[in-house]
Subunit: 597 residues, 2 copies
């Protein structure tokens, strides 16, 4: 009941046909990263994830990480799996060759990350945070920090964490109180409490590199006075060997709804004289560096959404093919049939599948933009793709994770009463997924980012460029008479129009009526997800129409999935538009006093 | 953190203004059930629920019912609470005076049931199932069965259960295999295994009356060969005293995602010679009687959805007023503010609130129809209201429970990271709610009922009568120029048109293309819920417009909530229409083979 088979064919289809891997493989440094390499990498990744990590997923839920006297013991089997993960080079897929990484495109790393999360969300969080730490050190660390820390993190000998949240400072980092006092020798002593630190303490690696937001004495108030510090669990000598235990201690871990195998630590810094830390980058620029980590992490959390959705889908399909119950409504059989034959079960599975495929496609396409933004020889091209990538990150994060709740909930529903029994396993995905729209920035935070930094700052330029691209796809659907294409054309066009109207509304009203604009923030993010995801489904549909004779089963399913997405998901666009553009009225909920709630 | 305050003012508003309690109190036998009585009953109920049951809710989650050697011990405190519940007469609110009930209208019982469920979903299941057993015995039981069992069930001395499901027979009762062998003395010996039996074994009452579906020898195959049996845990002597332990035993209870305090039993009948049972009603009519229990139970499960939604809303509001984080987006304060000031938090709370209010209003209105159907002196009027009530039951059950998942999920989201920590309590509602769209018939089963028995059988007559009533409300909104009224008029009209189009589609195509019709079943149920719920919000809006000077805070909130529902929920109607009417195409997911999933 714990099987997971990575959907390699679907993944490679998206990489090749939608994210244009061939072009990515022409970028400097990625010349060896064509389809054959990608396929080989994905196949190996699928093996590790399917054979080693997926079976540990249930075990992690039943036998979570455990805290005792300041130390945390991971679920049995996790440490060994993490060793295999490190030895296989999987932490380094997208990191530079010079630090022992594999130097592969983000487009190739992304399906690997999806598999990792589909197989074991709790496990995957440790590499996810470590990726963030690597990214921050590569961006802002000193040469010595890079040379000592990054190879150890890439090899899996050490792991990394992100320490932002404090009890009074969640989404609002202006309230961070942890302080760092200079010691005169270039080091600092760090004092404070950090909460919600994922894999903040564990026994899977020899050391943990905590990246910690703190304030130096006399730092400006608010977010402009936050600096980033590297605070290792064990002090590190100049040769990279481990020294004394540092004064950072895990005082407890949380009792959570899901992702129970991943310890969520409360870390106490400096209770015994001060935790020794080193500044990363320049003083007071910590938030900027942390955003680098967070943007990498936000994209990865989006992939968690895609991964857990696919896992829930696979499980539901397996059950629906196996469970026999009731005769078909069309009278085509006198006996009870497998429930996958019942129209509503198909509707549920199709919803799960089409949302998963659309969110996967959008994320992989975003990854390709990131690759071009990093490697293209032309600066203007890099900037253009970077802007698109940055526009897409909050959508990938917010939309993929919000829909993972719906998808995993449908996964339970397909199982009927058995879905509510923990032993079945479907409920774990429903519990695990619930954190995804919260951590690394709630959906509202993503949506605010989408509006503020990504839409109105450039007057809607990037959004409108994407809308123009969508229009081209709509045009390409025109000549096709198949019902799937007609439905897609009709509803993608409506969706595009709705998105265009909302972008205009956001740009026009953000200053005049910010409350009305931000009351529509999450509906806007969802609308963007639906339309941009639907666009990818339309592109997939066009490819499938062209190639359907080559592989009728595979492409036929792609056509049906695209049609379903058009008719059941893209159709929601106009309601979202109305809820944003109409709901700006002053009589509404925004005007109520607190007492009226 | 476990507070629950029944929303008495809201409840009484709905009872008086929307469900027309004054008229119900003119029905024979309900003359004493006017507003004053209702208010007194609701206030007493609110006390018990708020003070006794609500604090036990968390305890039940942390310390679930426990099985040992065939006996089940309820969560500490539950047995005493159940004693108070019985002694207070709460089991009997809607049951006849002649069996020691209070003989009050269903409209008065319904808010009590909502409170019971809001305060403690697990606890409330025991009375819920007992209600079903009472209903079945009153309908089909012998005089002796009624006179011995019903008063004991009404007083809370004994409890009742419904035994339908077997491992191979969930939604599909044709597959029931439990058998009942006549003993020649009028009694039967029952053999078989029943699963998912809520409160199937416990220590809160002296006896348990199991109502069990089983087949007699030579019974016809399928659902036409199922009979209903009364199988008490302890045999009952003619004078009502208890005899020997019967041969029905709880061999295990389930480990569930939620409602952990309510034991979900596997019951083994007849492993030690046969469980003695007595036929209820006529042989082979068991399914018919069970439907009486189930219809009562389905309505009550709908109230579970309303109850848990309101509880989650109350908790989220409390947190949102307390939690200070980030400055307002409109720059109206330099300091961080309570998060209820942030537009997206308001959007979430308003979504929770408006869905809860709409589903509550629809359910109470349905209860009033049931009262008229039972008590009105005119047979034609009774029949008319019975038909409306029966149309509404699957909508109340399906829609209220589906939206309780969304509402409890938003409740977690409002709490941010704290929502994912079990100690906070928000996650329990999310877990508990997940069973509601599954048990007593999944949403698909409700939707099939709504199409088959409630919509197409009468050619859409009841549906069209309701649509005509909605048109009158739309007309009444016409003269009002307030933005809330204009939004409501616009979107209720669109919703009404969508619902009308879908009803026509269902009636026209159910024979020609049953797969296409039933693929739209759940969207149809949701559409019906949105439009019928929106209609109640429109009616509430009209009352609030008229009375707003009397109580500006209360009615102002009603106006804002109705506007929000119109703009954020009713707007979804056209997408649902499209997903039903357009999606009938043959290229879609219905045509795929199993292998293509």
């Amino acid at each position: 009941m714990t099987r997971y088979a990575a959907p390699l064919k679907d993944m490679l289809f998206v990489m090749k046909e939608l994210a244009d891997l061939d072009t990515i493989a022409t970028l400097p440094g990625f010349e060896d990263a064509g389809l054959d390499t990608a396929q080989a990498v994905l196949e190996e990744s699928a093996k590790l994830c399917g054979e080693v990590l997926a079976p540990l997923n249930v075990e992690g839920d039943r036998n979570p990480s455990a805290w005792k006297d300041g130390t945390v013991t991971a679920t049995p089997g996790f440490a060994d799996a993490f060793r295999q993960f490190g030895e296989g080079g999987w932490q380094g897929v997208q990191h530079p060759l010079e630090y022992d990484g594999q130097g592969l495109p983000k487009l190739v790393a992304t399906p690997c990350i999806e598999m990792l999360n589909a197989s074991n969300l709790s496990f995957a969080l440790c590499p996810l945070l470590t990726d963030g730490a690597i990214e921050a050190l590569l961006t802002a660390g000193t040469d010595a920090q890079k040379q000592i820390y990054v190879p150890k993190l890439v090899s899996g000998e050490w792991t990394g964490t992100m320490n932002l949240t404090e009890p009074q400072a969640g989404s609002d980092l202006a309230l961070v109180r942890t302080r760092a006092e200079p010691q005169g020798d270039g080091s600092f002593k760090v004092f404070g409490t950090k909460i919600f630190i994922t894999w903040g303490e564990h026994d899977m690696a020899k050391n943990i590199a905590h990246l910690v937001l703190a304030r130096t004495p006399n730092a400006p108030e608010g977010v402009k006075g936050i600096s980033l510090f590297l605070v290792p669990k064990f002090l590190v000598n100049d040769d990279g060997s481990l020294g004394a235990r540092n004064d950072v201690h895990c005082v407890s871990i949380e009792h959570k709804l899901g992702i129970k195998a991943s310890p969520t630590a409360v870390l106490q810094f400096g209770d015994h004289g001060g935790a020794i830390g080193h500044l990363v980058g320049e003083e007071n620029r910590g938030l900027e560096y942390m955003f680098i980590m967070m943007n990498a992490a936000r994209f990865a959390v989006g992939m968690q959404g895609v991964g857990v959705s696919d896992r829930a889908y696979q499980k539901a399909v397996e059950y629906a093919k196996d469970r026999v119950q009731s005769r078909p409504v069309d009278g085509s059989a006198k006996q009870s049939v497998a429930i996958i034959q019942h129209p509503d079960v198909r509707r549920m599975l199709s919803t799960m599948r089409s949302l998963t495929e659309a969110s996967r496609a959008l994320a992989y396409v975003a990854a390709a933009h990131s690759d071009i933004a990093h490697r293209h020889p032309d600066a203007a091209t890099r900037a253009e793709h970077q802007a698109i990538y940055e526009f897409l990150v909050p959508v990938v994060k917010g939309w993929s994770t919000e829909l993972s709740i719906d998808v995993t909930s449908l996964g339970v529903q397909v199982h009927g009463g058995m879905g509510f029994i923990e032993e079945t396993g479907a409920a774990q995905y429903y519990r695990d997924a619930r954190i995804l729209p919260i951590y690394e920035g709630t959906t509202a935070i993503q949506a605010n980012d989408l509006i503020g930094r990504k839409t109105v700052r450039d007057g809607g330029a990037v959004a409108k460029a994407l809308l123009a691209d969508i229009a081209q796809t709509i045009e390409a659907l025109g000549p096709h008479d198949a019902l799937a294409c007609r439905s897609m054309k009709r509803y993608l066009e409506q969706g595009r129009d709705s998105l265009a109207a909302v972008v205009d509304f956001m740009v026009a009203n953000v200053k005049r009526d910010p409350n009305a604009v931000f009351a529509g923030s999450v509906p806007y993010l969802k609308l963007a997800g639906i339309v941009l995801g639907g666009w990818q489904m339309a592109r997939a549909l066009l490819v499938a129409m062209e190639k359907r004779e080559e592989d009728p089963s595979f492409y036929g399913a792609k056509i049906a999935t695209a049609q379903f997405f058009a008719e059941h998901v893209l159709t929601q666009a106009s309601a979202l538009e109305a809820s944003i553009v109409t709901a700006k009225g002053g009589e509404g909920m925004l005007g109520l006093t607190e007492d009226q709630f």
